[in-house]
């Protein structure tokens, strides 16, 4: 337990360092990308007006002063005032977190509920027609652009079959098409990794021993195979969940889903620094926390790691 406690503290420290690095890089890169003031004023605004606005936003101070102010505020959860929305940037981002989490977790659940059993079955029936079909579909899922999958789902499932709404957020039916669209890549990746991991474990000596002992195949699979195959599966699942949280901008745009991804892209175009910084920080925080959970899961699944 002591070892696990040290393990946890070490991971938490790494988490904070990772967050600080991400935020610093975003701060620097955003300021290198250009001046946001011209985007906020009409083209015929006088230079004096631009200078006044630049001063008001603190953009005329030396960059190290801007950084100092920024870090001081960030520690208090204040990423400044949105240039476009004229309110707290963090508040704008927080408003979108429920929608982002809803879509990400729905996609995630879709992905694992479909992919893990499919991958396991594929491994067990390696080389069969079923295996070929599943891996073929997985290949398409990984290769097809999200944009194409989304538009085709709207066409077929919404317009032709009238099963689901075309876009927007509302009741559970609004969630299905965006969740499948966003989860398609994750589904494909998890299925393929699951198949590979299970295949590898099934070749192991201890599995041969378990079978030789007369252990029923179900228990061989459930107790010995899956427990050992879980590490790579948990890794890919964790990575994919991170991608689902941060990489949904195309899905959000197609389905008019009010998530963080779309907000971040629009803010980049508008050079709304506070919003971009807030989005990146929130997304990075979710990502590193997920990685921490994955590390903790490793520790639970594999006692060797705890030691």
């Amino acid at each position: 337990m002591q070892g696990f406690g040290r393990f946890l503290i070490y991971r938490l420290l790494r988490l904070m360092v990772a967050l600080w690095c991400v935020v610093t890089v975003v701060f620097v890169v955003m300021r290198l990308s250009g001046d946001p003031v011209p985007l906020m004023l009409p083209p015929d605004a006088p230079i004096a007006e631009m200078e006044r606005l630049r001063h008001e936003m603190g953009l005329d101070r030396p960059i190290y002063v801007q950084y100092g102010v920024f870090v001081n505020q960030a520690v208090q959860g204040d990423f400044g005032r949105s240039i476009n929305f004229r309110t707290s940037a963090m508040r704008v981002v927080w408003e979108r977190i429920p929608a982002t989490l809803e879509l990400a977790f729905a996609s995630f659940v879709c992905a694992i509920v479909v992919a893990i059993p499919a991958g396991v079955l594929s491994a067990i029936r390696r080389g069969s027609t079923y295996d070929n079909i599943v891996m073929g579909v997985a290949l398409v899922g990984q290769a097809a652009p999200t944009f194409y999958i989304g538009i085709m789902l709207i066409l077929v499932c919404s317009l032709w079959l009238n099963l689901f709404p075309t876009s927007g957020r509302g009741e559970w039916r609004h969630l299905v098409l965006p969740a499948v669209t966003l989860g398609a890549f994750a589904m494909a990746s998890i299925a393929r990794i699951t198949r590979s991991a299970v295949l590898e474990i099934l070749q192991a000596d201890y599995i041969r021993t378990a079978r030789a002992k007369g252990l029923p195949e179900f228990w061989t699979l459930a107790k010995h195979t899956m427990r050992n195959a879980a590490i790579p599966i948990v890794t890919i699942v964790g990575l994919q969940l991170g991608n689902l949280l941060g990489g949904a901008v195309v899905t959000e745009t197609i389905f008019s889903w009010p998530g963080i991804g779309r907000l971040a892209i629009q803010s980049i175009y508008n050079r709304d620094y506070p919003i971009v910084q807030s989005c990146v920080f929130i997304t990075a925080a979710m990502f590193v926390i997920l990685n921490l959970l994955v590390d903790v899961a490793y520790g639970i699944l594999d006692p060797r790691i705890r030691r």
Binding site: L39, D44, R96, P165, S167, Y269
Partner: protein, 537 residues
């Protein structure tokens, strides 16, 4: 033939019992009659329930736009998605209708008292959504804020012809202008003229007002989930009469395919920004239709005329002559638009219909290139994608047409924020798209606004006669003189071509067939009673 007594008894259950007892009907006849009566009652009840349900249900109009609303303070934004909402939350003193004329709105009368004094009489009894009475003090506050150098607004150049505002009583507004301003009624009818409540604004401040605006218009903000939907409730006792629906919902649907799908499926009632190649899909659908209006502006090439080879007048003229506008209109726009004849927009005052459409003459273009001693220098057209409808396609076609006459034309795509920066710095390499809107239905609001000293597209174009005419026309109340001045200015512009007009496009909207609504050339979305009816129950 039934006698009246039998007929009467057959319509009630008691009557049927009497008939059965009297032997006037058989048992089978009794049962059939009873079933008929009960069935009629059930049908009537169903109809009544549907009617009651329909009466109880809110009539809602759902509008799908290409982007979310960004600001609700009408002096902070004039983007098309924002004005669709703000012109309905707020009223102006005057209102420009679809026929292009100005009508009374918050002002019932207006007149030019002397060359520098416009007087407006306000409608009495108008209230803001919070119950405050609308008076001349609110008008004065709104207009003064619009050109206040310390205010963070973007409307400073619209009403800044005003020297001062007097309010002798709560329902009279006197606008004293620096010089005679014939366009003041047009100015107050558009951007910056949406009247805001002084007391509420001063109480809550800029940011809170932007988040929770209060106006006097037919709609008020009920709720707003950004990037999802904005719900506006109709004002029941609006001075102009409650609008046709109880609620309007604005939904941002940025992608075109889902936006059209939502319309076809009936999830939205009206969508904006339909490109010409999607018209058939909506028009041929049994439940939807297309409404279009000639845009109150032009798509033009803005010319960086200080940079060779664009510094040569014959070269610029060659560029214009090499453009087959009819072909662009026919093939890219499917005929949805018009070929301009000058920089004065069709529909504006002082538009000259006698001028022919801009010519396509590739042979003359080649001749002019020789005259310009063109040696094959590179000409670059820089453009973002998606800022204008069909900008990518038109850019490709234009560079191809220029290559056909021997111009070394090149197309470069820019990211939107870089494009904005270049507009500010005037640092384009050669050509870019611009879509000037005619703000006042008058050449002053477009041709002069863009090409006057310091104008948006003025760059290095200066012509003494053009400037002299523009200044004189701006401050003249003699419409005949103004007309002659603008005609001569249009001829000068076509000779020197600081802007090369390309096309006046149609702006296309998709609607459900039961929505009787017409779009406006100035991109306002008018939902007041005179422009919106639903033809379904």
């Amino acid at each position: 033939m039934e006698d009246s007594g039998t007929k009467r008894d057959g319509t009630t259950v008691d009557g049927l019992v009497r008939m059965l007892r009297d032997g006037r009907i058989s048992r089978r006849g009794f049962l059939a009659g009873a079933a008929g009566i009960v069935g009629s009652m059930a049908a009537a009840e169903g109809i009544l329930a549907r009617v009651a349900g329909a009466q109880g249900a809110k009539k809602t109009l759902v509008v799908g736009q290409s982007a979310d609303v960004s600001k609700l303070d009408p002096q902070l934004s004039t983007t098309v998605n924002d004005i669709a909402v703000t012109f309905n939350i707020f009223d102006n003193l005057l209102s420009r209708h679809r026929d292009g004329k100005l009508y009374p709105s918050l002002a019932t009368e207006w007149k030019l008292v002397n060359p520098t004094l416009w007087q407006f009489k306000l409608r009495q009894g108008v209230k803001f959504h919070n119950g405050d009475r609308l008076t001349s003090a609110d008008v004065k506050f709104t207009f003064e804020r619009s050109y206040d150098p310390n205010a963070k607004v973007i409307t400073k150049t619209i009403l800044n012809t005003i020297e001062r505002i007097d309010t002798p009583d709560p329902y009279t507004v006197n606008l004293i202008t620096k010089k005679p301003d014939p366009l003041m009624p047009a100015r107050v009818a558009y951007y910056a003229g949406q009247i805001m409540p002084k007391a509420y604004f001063q109480k809550v401040g800029d940011d809170e007002f932007n988040a929770k605006p209060v106006g006097s218009g037919p709609l008020k903000l009920a709720s707003w989930v950004r990037d999802d939907r904005m719900v506006l409730d109709a004002i029941k006792d609006y001075w102009g009469g409650k609008i046709e629906v109880d609620q309007i919902v604005f939904r941002p649907l940025p992608e075109l395919a889902p936006r059209i799908a939502a319309l076809l499926k009936g999830e939205v009632d009206l969508i904006t920004k339909i490109p010409p190649d999607q018209v058939d899909q909506v028009a041929k659908n049994p439940t939807t239709k297309i409404e279009g209006v000639l845009y109150g502006g032009l798509y033009c090439m803005s010319v960086a005329s200080q940079k060779p080879p664009l510094d040569s007048k014959p070269f610029r003229q060659a560029l214009s002559l090499a453009i087959d506008r009819e072909l662009i209109l026919k093939e890219l726009w499917r005929g949805q638009g018009a070929v301009p004849n000058s920089l004065v927009v069709k529909g504006d005052s002082h538009y000259d219909p006698s001028l022919p459409p801009l010519k396509y003459d590739p042979d003359k273009a080649k001749q002019l290139l020789k005259e310009a001693n063109y040696k094959g220098e590179e000409l670059t057209l820089e453009t973002p994608i998606g800022t204008l409808v069909m900008d990518k396609e038109m850019s490709e076609v234009l560079t191809s047409m220029w290559k056909d006459v021997g111009i070394n034309a090149k197309l470069e795509q820019l990211e939107y924020s870089v494009y904005q920066q270049k507009i500010r710095e005037k640092s384009f390499k050669g050509l870019r798209w611009t879509d000037p809107t005619s703000a006042y239905n008058d050449p002053d609001g477009m041709m002069w606004r863009h090409l006057a000293q310091g104008g948006v597209n003025a760059y290095w174009f200066r012509n003494p006669r053009f400037d002299e005419l523009g200044e004189a026309a701006r401050y003249s109340v003699d419409e005949k003189f103004r007309g002659e001045a603008y005609r001569e200015m249009a001829r000068i512009e076509l000779e020197f071509l600081p802007l090369i007009p390309v096309i006046q496009p149609m702006e296309l909207y998709g609607l459900q067939k039961y929505v009787d609504w017409k779009p406006y050339a100035n991109q306002m979305m008018e939902f007041r009673r005179f422009n919106l009816k639903l033809t379904r129950a």
